[in-house]
């Protein structure tokens, strides 16, 4: 357990090393980056194997940082953070494998990538609101440069939009935190201390603080109507960055909502949760419907991410132990699935066909041309639809059961979203991989593809995809491995107060 903070330091150190290695050759930078990610991933798995689930955060390091302000560098972990750290480790490794073809300024690419990963680890491990905020901002900055420099469609627009949304969100968070800090007597930013102080705040203060902090984090989690950065950002980003954005960075927002906003301001949660739930449901249905009519393959996946993150937010808003544990499970599950989907679209398909238009893809029998990509996409698609046996099923089921307990109406409307998800996933699967090949003889390949035979799927892509598929299936078959971490963590007094609606 105590080795977990090393994941942060290893990532930042690896970023520097990759930057240096990039001056020699792109290949060296790749290897350095992969080794870094593998090392921190190993550390997380080792820590996970040692982990004894229990209520409350287990402190890893706690040092005064700015004593005059009562700010501590306080890292801690519980089952929820551990789940997300394991996800980060997996996503980091697979993202690097799917960026194996980056040749242009590879050193800088992987340096920014690893810095982003380091920031993400930091957020998931922070037990001090200030520390968390600092890591959160550190994670925002590299995204801009990753997208603006290595991205594709309208990258500068997408990058700037994403960063301005993120910073606006973090500005709201900062405002809310400062309010709570000042109202609590300016003693501490520690999450536990803030929650204790918050128990004495007036109802109005709690409502205001919760609204600021939750909304700020929810912008990054893709809450409707603040989700518009997500599809454009995902589409503009290079493959590895889209994988991280959808896979991990959106979870930063949801994690912040859970860890900071909900745990600290239970009265605010009780008041705002119906509104959040309805916004989440609108997001699920709306983004699903938009995904259904997209013509760009990557936009379909981008909107599907928003739709699936809606389930996470719904689970959080339902605010009972079942729904919240489902939400955390869904964070993990969606992180893996979205990573896979973006990898197939951005790396496997786009790098070879150079088109993402569904109309063009329809004319190519991709299931013959790249069976591995088709197989991966079908598996990920099935998981995304919530088929039993994959991680999406237990996650969304748990959320729906939990939401039913709070309000059956929510569960019913959200279930419509599951149907829509099945519809757009099946549509895009059929059109892109099993498209009609009218006008050509059955079994033959259109002439213009014979001129440029497609490059075979590389070992790096196979390894990355298999890693994520393994995680997806394993958690799908045995969700209790994660639930056994998550459920005890929700037994901590902080979460218990929040989940009872601030009654105690």
């Amino acid at each position: 357990m105590n080795a977990l903070p090393c994941t942060i330091y290893i990532s930042f150190l690896g970023a520097l090393l990759a930057l240096g290695a990039g001056m020699r050759s792109a290949a060296t930078a790749r290897v350095v980056a992969l080794l870094t990610a593998l090392t921190s991933c190993t550390v997380t798995f080792y820590a996970a194997s040692q982990f004894v689930p229990g209520p409350g955060l287990q402190t890893l390091i706690d040092k005064p940082w700015i004593p005059q302000m009562g700010i501590h560098y306080h890292l801690a972990a519980d089952g929820i953070s551990l789940t997300l750290i394991v996800l980060t480790g997996l996503a980091a490794v697979s993202g690097i494998l799917f960026s194996w073809n980056i040749e242009e300024r590879a050193g800088e690419f992987f340096a920014l990538y690893l810095a982003l990963i380091g920031g993400v680890y930091g957020v998931f491990l922070s037990a001090d609101a200030f520390t968390l905020f600092v890591f959160y901002e550190i994670a925002i900055v590299p995204k801009y440069f990753l997208i603006a420099n290595w991205g594709s469609t309208k990258r500068e627009y997408g990058a700037m939009k994403l960063v301005l949304y993120s910073f606006a969100g973090s500005a709201l968070v900062l405002a809310g935190l400062l309010w709570a800090y000042a109202a609590g007597g300016a003693h501490s930013f520690g999450l536990g201390e803030l929650a204790q102080a918050a128990a004495h705040f007036s109802r109005h203060e709690q409502l205001g603080m919760f609204a600021l902090v939750f909304l700020g984090f929810a912008v990054l989690a893709g809450l409707f109507p603040f989700h518009t950065w997500a599809p454009t950002g995902h589409v503009a980003a290079p493959t590895a960055a889209s994988m991280l954005l959808a896979g991990v960075v959106m979870k930063l927002g949801a994690y912040g909502c859970l860890r900071v906003a909900m745990a600290t301001f239970p009265v605010g949660l009780a008041f705002w949760s119906p509104l959040i739930a309805w916004l989440a449901i609108i997001g699920i249905v709306y983004a699903g419907l938009v995904a259904l009519v997209q013509q760009d393959f990557k936009f379909v996946i981008g909107y599907s991410s928003v739709s699936h993150m809606g389930f996470v937010l719904l689970g959080l808003a339902a605010a009972n132990a079942t729904a919240v544990s489902g939400a955390v499970l869904q964070m993990f599950s969606h992180g893996v699935i979205a990573g896979l989907l973006f990898a197939v679209v951005g790396r496997m398909v786009y790098e070879r066909t150079h088109t993402r238009q569904l109309a063009d893809l329809r004319t190519m029998p991709l299931h013959r041309l790249m069976p591995f990509a088709a197989m991966t996409f079908v598996l990920a698609g099935l998981a995304s639809m919530g088929m039993p046996g994959f991680s999406g099923f237990p996650a969304e089921l748990t959320i729906l059961i939990g939401a039913w307990k709070t309000s059956p109406k929510w569960a019913l409307f959200a279930a419509v979203g599951v149907l829509i998800a099945a519809a757009f996933t099946l549509r895009v699967m059929q059109v892109s991989f099993f498209g009609t090949t009218e006008g050509t003889k059955p079994g033959s390949i259109p002439a213009h593809h014979l001129d440029h035979p497609m490059a075979p799927i590389t070992w790096a892509e196979r390894a990355g995809a298999l890693l994520l598929i393994a995680a997806m299936v394993y958690v799908g078959l045995k969700p209790d491995i994660l639930l056994n971490w998550i459920t005890p963590a929700l037994q901590s007094p902080l979460f218990q107060t929040a989940l009872k609606g601030g009654a105690s």
């Binding site: 700015i66 302000m69 800088e108 600092v134 801009y144 603006a148 700037m160 405002a175 400062l178 800090y181």
Partner: protein
């Protein structure tokens, strides 16, 4: 009387020159430079700037050794000067700024066929005047010191006298400076007159003296003429810090002035304005009893300044104008700190302003240092396009630029972020919530242009304009010399260190 009081009284009764030893040192070095130019043979003239730098370093070290000066808390020169911890901090601040300006001046002047020595002479004189300004406890002292600074800057701004832009900037600064001095003086005279009116309570013959004036103002809390005087004095100071609507001179003057002078204006001159503001509007300041007037005036100024600076900077392409307007927004954030400092609720506000100033110094000089090295023969023409491909050609300068701009933008964990955080917390404690909303929005807006600049330096490649052969080529990058290189590294490390671990500087916050 207690021993302390005896000491204070004794110090105040006689003219104690030792109390202003650092300022005297600087003035002597400044004169020495002029003498050296006459006496030394031509081939040694290269060394003269080093004398200036050595003089500043010597004074700085001497100041640090005597930081807990025996004069702390005392009034000297018949109450003209008041030696405080804040004054000591500002002295160190101005010396640091002067040192950096001299280092940048060497780089910048090497590109021009200009006399060298006067530049360093003026920098030293201005620095000495600013140090006195930060410690003045009397309006005569304040005005004389302020005018010395301003007149020195008239010459420095138009120093590149063969450049039309520099001359125009000098003229604009002269006209605007005269206007602001006039307003300041009119305000002072009004206060002097009304405080000397025998018909009023607590009237005083010493009404230029901050202490007596404060007593008078406290006894007459809603005096109409005094209110006008206060507003005029604040307006005069607002010119110096470039607060809206007194910021109109900033873009043109910043663009036309030689880059080191722009840096000096942007950092030291602005800081001098804030030192004066803290002395006047702080919670123990002269205008403390007019909080009902000062706080709303400053609040409106701060809100407009933050918004104007950030929005106007969005569309700028000339980096000198860009940093000038971003500097306007920083003045707004600092005003937020001053407003907090005028409230008894925010204990650490004064310290937060000092911290912010140091963070701003480290970040700004890093950026200005890079700008100096990128400027061509025409110093006023520095475009964002000139930064394309910088990371490839000079990774060192690009890294320094990124740290400087990141700190200005307030990216954690750099110093600028901590500075903003402290100021915001202080403002929160003082109850300036709506102003904070504007400030936070301003921070988000500022991301746009700071990131655009960083992106130009790192991720865009220079393509020479093929279709328009008349477009002048991009100026060549100046190689980084050892001294300037060390200074830039120190500035970057300073920004990092203050951000990662405020440590000793964090104790500034404990300052009351």
């Amino acid at each position: 009387m207690t021993p302390e009081l005896v000491k204070v009284a004794a110090a105040a009764s006689d003219n104690t020159w030792a109390a202003i030893f650092p300022e005297l040192m600087l003035a002597c070095v400044a004169l020495l430079l002029l003498v050296a130019e006459i006496v030394l043979p031509k081939k040694f003239h290269e060394l003269i700037p080093s004398i200036a730098i050595a003089g500043i370093v010597g004074t700085f070290i001497g100041l640090l050794i005597n930081f807990q000066s025996a004069w702390l808390g005392a009034y000297t020169f018949s109450g003209l000067l008041h030696h405080t911890m804040g004054g000591q901090i500002m002295r160190a601040f101005f010396l640091l700024a002067a040192l950096l300006v001299c280092l940048l001046g060497r780089v910048s002047l090497a590109k021009q066929a200009m006399p060298r020595i006067e530049f360093f002479h003026l920098v030293l004189i201005i620095t000495a005047a600013m140090m006195l300004l930060a410690q003045s406890a009397h309006f005569v002292m304040l005005f004389v010191a302020l005018e010395t600074v301003t007149i020195g800057f008239y010459i420095l701004v138009s120093y590149f006298r063969t450049s039309a832009a520099s001359l125009e900037a000098g003229l604009k600064y002269l006209v605007m400076g005269a206007l602001s001095s006039g307003m300041l003086l009119f305000g002072i005279v009004l206060l002097y007159g009304i405080a000397g009116n025998p018909a009023l309570k607590a009237h005083t013959a010493e009404s230029m003296n901050f202490g007596s004036l404060a007593i008078f103002l406290a006894a007459n809390p809603h005096q109409f003429l005094a209110s006008i005087g206060i507003v005029l004095v604040l307006a005069g100071v607002a010119f110096k810090i470039g607060a809206f609507p007194f910021q109109i001179w900033i873009p043109d003057v910043y663009q036309g002035a030689p880059t080191p002078v722009t840096a000096f204006l942007a950092v030291a001159s602005k800081a001098a304005g804030f030192a004066v503001l803290l002395a006047l509007a702080g919670k123990d300041g002269v205008f403390a009893s007019y909080g009902w007037l000062v706080t709303p005036v400053l609040t409106v100024l701060a809100a407009a300044t933050i918004l104007f600076g950030n929005v106007a900077a969005l569309t700028q392409h000339n980096v000198k104008r860009l940093i000038g307007l971003s500097g306007v927004s920083h003045a707004g954030f600092l005003l937020l700190g001053v407003i907090a400092a005028s409230s008894p609720l925010a204990a650490m506000a004064t310290g937060a302003v000092y911290f912010y100033l140091f963070a701003y110094l480290f970040a700004s000089f890093a950026v200005f240092g890079v700008m100096t090295h990128l400027a061509g023969a025409d110093d006023s023409d520095q475009d964002l396009d000139h930064y394309t491909g910088l990371a490839k050609e000079s990774p060192f300068l690009a890294a320094i630029l990124a740290i400087g701009l990141g700190s200005l933008a307030g990216i954690p964990p750099l110093a600028g972020f901590m500075g903003k955080l402290f100021v915001f917390i202080a403002a929160f404690q003082a109850g300036a919530r709506w102003l904070l909303v504007i400030a936070v929005a301003g921070v988000v807006i500022s991301i746009y242009y700071y990131f655009g600049w960083i992106k130009a330096a790192f991720f865009e490649t220079w393509t020479s304009p093929v279709d328009s052969p008349n477009t002048p080529a991009r100026p060549a990058r100046t190689p980084v010399e050892l001294a300037a290189g060390i200074a830039l590294v120190a500035l970057a490390l300073g920004s990092l260190a203050l951000g990662f671990y405020p440590g000793t500087f964090g104790q500034l916050l404990a300052l009351r």
